[in-house]
């Protein structure tokens, strides 16, 4: 049956959540054909998730609110069909993986949807088996989903949607918890599914460069409206700068091409991948009369370390009570001047390592010395005066009636004299731009502001070291940069030592002065990002990938004797300009 009718069609779709006045979606017109892969992107709060939720009827049936215009899924008006029925047609994977796992084992989880569809037991078994095999989850079959890593949970969530065999797959940031190689694998899988099963796939993503040749169309949403729409190659090539300005992440090489053009360097076309950009950038480089002789590999200033280490981790291993060894024989020193990014595959021991630094966990072997204190002998109460730890999710700590009270919590606990409270709270609140919110209730704030409050509530205790665990997960690129800019201010202006964990290689490249790569509980690389990101093969073994721009210069460098350790677009721009303009 090859009907030409669109699988999804929205006409003048406007939707307002209950209790709000501003519409989350404002006049959306969109048609999706059978078998299409549509990439929906846009800044946080643009309405991407809301739009997706109309396809399976959660909007308006589950959330309520006011809906105008029309959404038809497979010809059915979503207002007239039940959410239960629509869910059999449009399977939706939600953003936060752990929030959607509801069963006791991975197998039960994957079978839950098919059971609801009333499919015979034998067929459920067969579907479950094939999906688990397909997604390489067979080894986890009997494990409880809650005990898996974020990346594995995301894969299980996706498996449980695929097992229902819906005609339309709606995936809200399906790779937010995955490392770079895991991300590529999932996208390849989606392409395979769409080709073999003729599924229609809607993906909400910020990772645009990985989807250039997978998506058929990009739809960029902003303020509940469609701002840009078209084939990925066109949109990314023409509007890379606009996307970047809107806080999104177009391919770095496209951005570089635009910036070189603006600087007066002739660039024929805007490339989207590393191999394309090799050709594009080779032209002006070849046109140079003299070959470039560039011997220096490292321009970046090696970090000036003058002081003694403030935290010393010596041959430390940590084993959880269940028997899992999360950190294996790690030795590392941290200095006052450090701005360290810790990267590594899911489950490589990053979080366990940083929890050892403020005494939340005590080493089962070896010694952690924090400002001279042995962490095994010192209560956590004493260690947190030196090492502040900001948890990923602000909701797991905020509890007070006002932001002001929230900030005084740590001060009270550390018995800081009351006359110092106001000045400390005010100065930290100013630093984090939340001084106007001190009287507000933390729970009424936006996610970004809540995160700032959580960071502030640690900073008032005036620790020298600030540890932030995945501060950027689930945020759009602009929000991620805002947080990292904040860390930079804390480091540059206030002399704080920063240790952060992230999956975002671009952020490490741009902000970290030092980069620690972990694998299977051990440290495999430790050095400046300029050094670390040149270890392409070792990184790949740990499921990581250097920034796209670094991969470009790996190739360009080999051909034209250029530096290879280029980590950011601006660095590349300055470097190429210096070579090409003179």
């Amino acid at each position: 049956m090859t009907s030409k009718a669109p699988v999804i069609s929205c006409k003048g779709l406007t939707y307002t959540y209950p209790g709000t006045t501003e519409p989350a979606l404002n006049g959306i017109d969109l048609e999706v054909e059978r078998g299409e892969i549509v990439l929906i992107t846009g800044p946080t709060g643009a309405g991407k998730t809301t739009l997706c939720s109309t396809f399976n009827g959660l909007v308006p049936h589950f959330y309520g609110g006011r809906m105008e215009g029309e959404v038809k899924v497979l010809g059915q008006d979503v207002r007239e069909a039940s959410a239960g029925y629509l869910s059999t047609k449009a399977g939706m994977l939600f953003q936060d993986p752990s929030s959607q796992l509801i069963s006791a084992t991975v197998e039960d989880e994957v079978a839950f949807g098919p059971e609801n569809l009333g499919i015979p037991v034998e067929e459920i078994a067969q579907r479950t088996n094939s999906v688990l095999n397909y997604m390489e989850l067979n080894g986890l079959r009997e494990r409880p989903p809650f005990a898996l890593s974020g990346g594995q949970q995301q894969a299980v969530g996706l498996a449980s949607v695929i097992a229902m065999k819906p005609e339309i797959l709606v995936l809200d940031e399906p790779t937010s918890n995955l490392d770079p190689i895991g991300t590529i694998n999932i996208f390849a899988l989606l392409r395979k599914i769409s080709r073999e099963e003729e599924n229609t796939i809607i993906i909400v993503e910020h990772k645009l460069q990985e989807l250039v040749d997978i998506a058929d169309r990009i739809v960029m949403i902003e303020d509940g409206k469609i701002r840009l729409e078209g084939p990925p190659r066109e949109i990314l090539a023409e509007d890379a700068v606009l996307l970047y300005e809107r806080g999104l992440q177009p391919p770095q090489v496209s951005l570089l091409a635009h910036k070189l053009k603006a600087a007066g360097i002739p660039i024929e076309k805007v490339p989207l991948t590393v191999s394309e950009s090799l050709e594009v950038f080779s032209k002006p480089l070849r046109a140079l009369k003299e070959p470039i002789v560039e011997l220096r590999e490292k321009e970046s200033e090696p970090q000036q370390i003058t002081s003694q280490p403030i935290i010393e981790v010596e041959n430390v291993s940590f084993q959880y009570p269940g028997g899992v060894v999360a950190v294996r024989d790690v030795t590392a020193k941290f200095y006052k001047e450090d701005f360290v990014g810790i990267i590594g595959q899911n489950g490589s021991g990053k979080t366990t390592l940083v929890k050892l630094l403020n005494g939340l966990l005590k080493p089962t072997q070896g010694i952690v010395k924090v400002f001279g204190l042995d962490s095994r002998e010192s209560p956590i109460h004493d260690l947190i005066r030196y090492v502040g730890y900001v948890f990923q999710d602000p909701d797991s700590q905020l509890f007070s009636k006002t932001v002001h009270q929230e900030l005084s919590f740590g001060l009270k606990n550390l018995r800081v004299p009351r006359d110092q409270w106001e000045s400390r709270i005010n100065s930290v609140a100013k630093m984090l731009l939340i001084d106007s919110l001190l009287k507000e209730a933390p729970y009424s704030l936006s996610r970004g502001d809540r995160q700032r409050v959580a960071i502030a509530s640690v900073l008032v205790m005036e620790p020298q070291v600030v540890v932030v665990d995945e501060p950027t997960t689930g945020q759009d690129p602009r929000k991620r940069r805002e947080i990292m800019e904040l860390m930079k201010v804390l480091h540059d202006k206030h002399g704080k030592t920063i240790i952060f964990i992230t999956h975002d290689m671009d952020l490490v490249a741009e902000y970290a002065k030092r980069c620690i790569v972990m694998k299977d509980g051990g440290v495999v690389l430790d050095g400046s990002p300029h050094e670390v990101f040149l270890h392409y093969d070792e990184l790949e073994k740990t499921h990581l990938k250097p920034p796209m721009i670094t991969l470009l210069f790996k190739e360009l460098g080999a051909r034209y004797n250029l530096r290879k350790d280029i980590l950011t677009v601006d660095e590349a721009l300055g470097y190429l300009k210096s070579k090409l303009v003179s």
Partner: protein, 275 residues
Amino acid sequence: MAFEYIQGQSLMHKLDPRTKVLFFLLVTVLIMVVYDPIIMLGLLGVIVLMYRLSGIPLSKLWGITKALLPVFIMFLVLNYFVIPPRGATVYFYLLPGIAPVTIETTLVGITSAFRFVLFIWLSRLLTFTTSISEILIAMVKMKSPPEIATSLGIAFSSVPLMINQFSTVIQAQKSRGSQIEVKNPIKKGISFIPVVVPGIYLTILRGMNVARTVEARAFTYNPKKRTFRKKIQFGHEDYVFLTISGLFTVAIVAIRMLYGWFDYTFILRDVLKLV
């Protein structure tokens, strides 16, 4: 955890959950007609044996029992306050003039305390050997709506996740200097507020997320026709097990009613002629 399941291949594991429910009812009847503490002790021994045969480490049993000790003592002591001496020899009074200590009240106290322990041991034995999904299917088979069974299942499987979330909250507050391990009970209560408030928030959030997920996985599509993958079936061993325990219980009840055996002092007075 209150619903921990320990995998195994023992008879207790293999029995149909409905058999176990019936067995539980039979034992309840049994311990209601048996008053003799020494026989009760023997029954406790049987339960311990069943733990062994089911492959459940006795350390688990000790863990439960330790928690029960205060209640055990409470049962023992409270009995002196509520049971009149009925002319029996009063050895002494717990408090001046009240709570007389006689052989009878002591034996009654011991029996009711044993009864209580047996009740808990047995119910834990059944939950150790029955997975949640079996219980839920049994519920559906016993005509409870599939919505209720499924919601209960989700609630149970959310427990470990919630424990994880709570431990993250505790770690986050410890990182802000909160001292949760204080001894003073009032201070301890206050120090739990920073844990409980985010905990409640996260629990509500979890509830909403689960509701949304269940909807998106087509649970409301047609719940009556829902497939339950796991099947439970009455087998040979179920009939044998139920017949034996049923006959045993009926026999005990009959003897009790006809001959008045198994009273508090049955073994001590009537069998051993000690008192």
